[in-house]
Every structure is written in C-alpha cells, then in structure tokens.
Symmetry: C2
Subunit: 218 residues, 2 copies
C-alpha cells in the first residue's frame, strides 16, 4: 500500500470514529453518501478516500461496516498498539490523560512526565507520573513512540528536544510555540487559541460560507 496524504489520513481517522460511534451491528452496510452526510463532504470524496485504502463496496449495498473498519484500522496502523507519553502533567495534561484513557483504543498512554517534584510517583487516571530526568529510561522501557506535549510555552522547545533525544517518533504539541524538530519526527501542532481565533474571525465576518480543511460551516 502506498503512502497516503495527510489530508486523506485525517479524513480516514474521522470516518473511523464515525463508524465506532454508530451502534455496532446496527447496520451491516453503509452507503458512501451516508458517511459523506455525517462528515459534511461529498460522497465521491468518501469513495475516493476509501479507494485509497483498497476498500471495495458493492453497488446498491454500499460498504460492509466490519470489513471497512478492519481496512481502516489496518491503513491507519491502528491494528497494533502505540505507546504514548504525556509530557506536562498540569491541568491540560491530566485532562488529556483522563480523556484518552476513557476512550480505550490502541493508542495507550503509558507514562506522564513533569518537572514538578510534587507530581513524581503520582498516578493520574491510572497513569504514573515520572520526572523529566527519567524520560529516556522510561520511554525506552515502555516502548513509547508518541508524545503529547502540554507544557508551558517557555518549556516546550526544551521538552521537545529531550523527546527527540529519547527517540520519540511523533509529537502532538499543545504549547503555543512553533517547535523545531528533525525531519524524521512527525509533528502535529494543535494550538487551541489558533482555532478559537479562527472562529472569532469567521463569526465576526459577514462571510459567505467557506469550507476547507478543518474549518467547516454549514
């Protein structure tokens, strides 16, 4: 299977959550236009995306839900587990731990890290918090490949460097700083204020509708 573009991967991930959200076994088949309606895209878009992962549908019946889920898991590499670390056990970090642990999946939080000694050894939602000094050791021991970064902006780059040094492969950054990481480390910037500001812009403008990437209105 060839490499899929980021845009498509993102939509595939969304289709997947949509499917899991549907009552399991409620419908054995779904039409592309049904998925499209839920996702606010065109049906042809959905078909194209599903084609990219080699899914087959049947005319007049649509796509078989179970087979589709399997293909999606496989394409998104969610058929194996991924060990995740949360760096920064402040409010946001702990909230994310609780949030992600609740939605049990193959993305499994294995450890938290912080600089505050008061947090060392504490357990949040079943996840133990370690000192930043032990990051490399714990990461290696637990086989952690992904990190969620929710430290203050001033500490973000330093923490990122440390993560890269520890061999992390991907970082999800919540700190309002544009991080610099090597090319071989995947980086996803999720600065919340950015999206709030985007909302502020589109709500205060007498805008005709506008649709793109993440921003959708209807």
């Amino acid at each position: 299977m060839k490499l899929i573009s980021g845009k498509i991967v993102e939509r595939l991930a969304r289709y997947r959550t949509f499917l899991t959200e549907q009552a399991p076994g409620h419908r054995t088949h779904l039409f592309s236009h049904e998925i499209a309606a839920a996702m606010r895209t065109a049906d042809s878009q959905v078909r194209r995306d599903l084609m990219a992962i080699g899914t087959q549908g049947v005319p007049r019946h649509g796509y078989e839900v179970d087979a589709l889920m399997e293909k999606l898991d496989q394409a998104l590499c969610l058929d194996r587990t991924h060990a995740v670390a949360v760096v920064g056990a402040g409010h946001l970090g702990r909230a994310l731990i609780a949030f992600l642990e609740a939605s049990r999946s193959t993305l499994c939080i294995k450890a938290a890290f912080d600089t505050d000694p008061a947090t060392f050894g504490r357990v949040y939602s079943g996840v133990k918090c370690h000192s930043m000094a032990s990051l490399e050791a714990v990461t290696a021991r637990e086989g952690i490949t992904l990190a969620i970064l929710c430290v203050p902006a001033s500490a973000a780059q330093g923490a990122a460097d440390q993560l890269v040094g520890a061999g992390i492969r991907g970082i999800l950054n919540f700190a309002p700083v544009a991080l610099r990481v090597p090319v071989n480390v995947a980086l996803e910037e999720l600065v919340i204020t950015t999206y709030l500001e985007k909302l502020a812009y589109f709500t205060t403008h007498p805008s005709k509708e506008r649709r793109n990437g993440r921003h959708e209105e209807r």
Copy 2:
C-alpha cells in the same frame, strides 16, 4: 477588506502568536524570511499572507513589528473582545479554562456550563459554572458568541443544538462526533484522537517527508 480563506486566517493567527512570543520591543522590524523560518514555510508565503491583510514592509528592513501586530489584530478581529463559554466542566473543560485564562487575551471566558448539579455555582479559575438550563439566559446576559464544547460524545449533539438555539455564532468541538449545525454557525472540530492517529500513521510508515495543512515534519 475582503474575506480571507481559512488557511490564511490560521497562518495569520500563528504569526500573531509568534510575534507575541518574541520579546516585546526586542526587534523593531522582522524580515519575512525570519517569520517563515519560525513557521516552517516559505518567505513568499508569509509575504503573500501579510499582503492579504494589507501590510506594508520596507525593502531591506522588513516589517515593523508593532504595525504588523496591529494589522493582525485588526484582521483577525482581535481588537474587540469575544466572550466565550465552556460547555462541559469536566477535566478537559476545566483544564481549558485554566489554560485560556492564563493566556489573557481578547478571547475571554465568561461562563462554564455543565449538567452535573455538583458543579453549579462553583468557580473554576475565576469562571463560574452554571446549569445547562440557564445557558440561554447567561449567554444573552454576557454577550457570549463563541463556545468550546467538551462534553462526552453522547451529549455533544444535544449541547450543540442548545448552543445554536441560544444564538452562539461559533463552536469549537472537542467531542469525537461530527456535529451538525446550521450554515451560519462556524464550527471547528478538534478531535484529539484524530491527530494522534495521524501521528501514528506517519510514524509507522517509512514515509518520505510530507507536508500539508496542519501536519508538518522536518
């Protein structure tokens, strides 16, 4: 000033946080290539974006930081305040309140809402929590136009409907559900697992670098 595309708005917001992050008054002027380097884009991209909001630079000197900030605030409508509500005062909701209140800006959280009676009347990081029943009244009283939605997936659509009914103009959704809202309400879906899954995909693939939208590697 004409309507700016979502992509550009997003980058403008990022330029803005980059500028605020710079020591104020440290440099009076910045070159497009300096901003570009920090943002991991091309300098021509930065110039194009700044052109879209009518900023003027001077050859050999770059862009004046203060003037640029002013233009950005104006373009992004951040020169007026926007009242924001947080719906769902669980871990995530409270973390976001703390996080956003810390970074004081013109985006100001005015109220929180929850269904749990235990939260009614409580104050989190200076923000008072109300019952969902009082949503419409409080929203109107406080002039709230934006909402951050962090309720469980099952409650998300209902809460969204209520928000729309209360006249909210934009929703930032953290619940893993594709919401349906009227066209005139701006919607930004920020489902965290989606981005984690995207990371999982790109870290487990022997991918050549790939760059697009939010996903950037270097």
